[in-house]
Symmetry: C3
Subunit: 150 residues, 3 copies
């Protein structure tokens, strides 16, 4: 099954790939690697804000990480066209979190699980998950990625 068909079967609609915000761009390709800028969680154009350990639940933060993942895939699609030729290499997840929070892996699983749902075995990736004292605009999660293009 093609990745596009799998997206349909999963009922996943990719968001609009956000346009360049400044002198940086959403994606840069070098060789067969595509570097995707850090994506922040948006739902219907509204940023998902919050801090783990300070009122935001792990479940809500994981849902935000999934939204970051959807934006990553949308950027890859815009840059690469054909999602069937794509393999996920690396995700770096930054969780807006207080000093006593410890469930960063469960949060970033929101993005990791999405990659395997969408890309199957080619969605299994290396990863880091760490805490950030704060994130742009107060968002709960930021996830960046490196993808291989066939």
């Amino acid at each position: 099954m093609s990745v596009e068909d799998r997206l349909k079967e999963l009922g996943i609609e990719l968001p609009e790939a956000a346009a360049p915000a400044a002198n940086y761009v959403p994606t840069v390709r070098t060789g067969n690697l595509l570097y995707v800028s850090g994506q922040v969680p948006q739902r219907d154009g509204v940023l998902v804000k919050g801090q783990c350990g300070n009122g935001m639940s792990v479940e809500d933060a994981a849902a935000a990480a999934r939204l970051c993942g959807l934006s990553l895939i949308a950027q890859v699609k815009r840059a690469a066209g054909d999602l069937d030729a794509v393999r996920v290499v690396k995700l770096n997840g930054f969780v807006n979190a207080t000093g006593d929070f410890g469930d960063h892996p469960a949060v970033i699983n929101g993005a990791s699980d999405l990659m395997v749902e969408v890309f199957g075995d080619k969605g299994r990736h290396a990863r880091s998950a760490v805490g950030s004292s704060s994130l742009p605009f107060g968002v709960a999660v930021e996830v960046e990625g490196i993808f291989e293009i066939g």
Copy 2:
């Protein structure tokens, strides 16, 4: 116009590329990718310290990020020699910031804008900007980079 000529036109003088500090080195090249270690902001040999959300303004932090960018370019020049063969692939910017700070993108623009001033279209890069609870020696910003060499 060559990148060196553009640097002159912009009145930009690159700092001395800092020597290896320990068992890590400023740059490693693999294939045509050059990984540059995280650079901290220095002005005339003095570190720029401070924390956003705790007394340091966005403008001052962006100026510090620009200094990190200058050091990145100095390291690339030392490693690659010819700056005309260089393309900026990725920057990762870490902002020393408290929990309620949210202007990380504006801070890291200090480095991003410099790349486009210096390298033109080849300076447009993928990027992440996140908050760090603290940074080495109390500096305000740390920026690392990946560059492609022609």
Copy 3:
């Protein structure tokens, strides 16, 4: 001397390479680059927890970073087999640290020094060291790496 012989001479026994924890995997190879997921410090199966600036000394945190480094090497060995064909390209070190901590480089030296002990000149790498407001399960350090193979 082979890397395996050097490990023996140094009296270093690699830990068990941790199995995949979720939909992410310990390593992904693309071309001749091996991306290794962020490793957390374990001693005899027990996580090393703590926060710099809040009770954990630089020495103890550097020892934890060395444990992360051992896990990185164990993952590389599992993925690549022959350690003699390995070169360390990049380490990213995240230190669980309060806002007034500034000795991140000394902490991450625990991992950097290990790489040069084990791999010699091929262990000299580019690096970043930053503070995190918190890390998974409250560990003191997390280190990820990029390695070149053969």
